[in-house]
Symmetry: C2
Subunit: 206 residues, 2 copies
């Protein structure tokens, strides 16, 4: 059984790498198994379909990212400092990915949203849940900042959506230009979106 | 020759529809020709490869969108009003697409950026040029608003990038949730990003 569960991990890991490199649609089960070094029979032992595999890749990636976000956004620091740390770690993560594979791979969830959300409802629903969870985590931090009178927005949920949208848009550009410096404007832009203390044309100064 | 050039248009039109529905990687030349109602031989008469077709689809789509953006951003109105009109027309365009095909298809350029920019350099370069052109058009309007002291940003190019990033991020959400109302926050968010007159927590009020 030890080797069996090892095969599942190998398939998941190979699939995540291949999806980040080439997207989901271009992949075949045979290629995933070859990259993973497992026989094709193993695939259908663990996953009933390629879609089931994609959902498992999404879940595993989110489990890791959610743990990171939870750690950063619950640190012992002022709320806006924690938000800033989230952007810094996002930039560092994209830079590390770029160094290891030569290209900024972007956000797996954003990539799959634009590639697949109109094709499979199961994947659309899962991605919606993940983005809702991200927005809720950012919302909590903004609400704390609002209690401390450090931001001026009143609809913290809507503001959190705009911050996550800005994150996804800038990650798209980071991928397009293969340049993580695009992410350096996230902090200033978010302050501007939140009506933060240093806001008002911050986007320009970063 | 009339029929020949007609076949090229049919292939382009079928390819654009199929790419919007299912992305680029999942498509085969045979399916494109079947949808277009032209023999497969015609395809290679007009396009040397699937990549060449993708570039032609991108160019044709941009020619139309560029004409729209140019018209809107050069209207006889205050610069920020023109920017607001751009967002309103973007939302209307996505809504029309949703009504005709049942789902918000998003931005063809954003979709292809996340699907393909790390796979083909020719497509990456073309998409970079298009986004640069979009940023430049938005930059011009922001610079006009700055001259009129209606915004407080100083680096208008960087601010324009943030506005286009916000647009792409919100279009991503509109596609994910199949809901164009997500785009309603673009105007308030852009004012906040630009340090516009009504800014400071605008994101919340929209």
């Amino acid at each position: 059984m030890g080797r069996t569960s090892d095969a599942r991990e190998k398939i998941l890991s190979a699939a995540q790498t291949l999806i980040e490199l080439r997207g989901y649609s271009a992949l075949g089960v045979a290629e995933i198994c070859k990259t993973a070094g497992v026989p094709k029979g193993s695939f259908y032992y663990f996953f009933e379909s390629k879609e089931a595999l994609a959902l498992a890749v999404i879940d595993e990636h989110w489990a890791g990212q959610k743990a990171d976000w939870t750690r950063i956004l619950n640190e012992d620091a002022a709320p806006l400092d924690r938000l800033r740390r989230l952007f810094e770690e996002t930039e560092a993560g994209q830079r590390a990915g770029q160094q290891s594979c030569g290209a900024v791979s972007g956000c797996l969830f954003g990539n799959l949203t634009l590639e697949l959300s109109n094709q499979t409802e199961a994947i659309r629903m899962r991605l919606q849940e993940i983005f809702e969870a991200q927005v809720e985590m950012v919302d909590s931090v903004i609400a704390e900042a609002l209690e401390r009178h450090e931001v001026t927005v009143t609809d913290t949920r809507e503001a959190a959506r705009s911050v996550v949208a800005q994150l996804e848009g800038q990650v798209l550009f980071a991928k397009l230009y293969n340049n993580t410096q695009r992410l350096g404007s996230l902090w200033g832009n978010s302050l501007a979106l939140l009506g933060g203390h240093a806001a008002g044309g911050v986007a320009a100064g970063v």
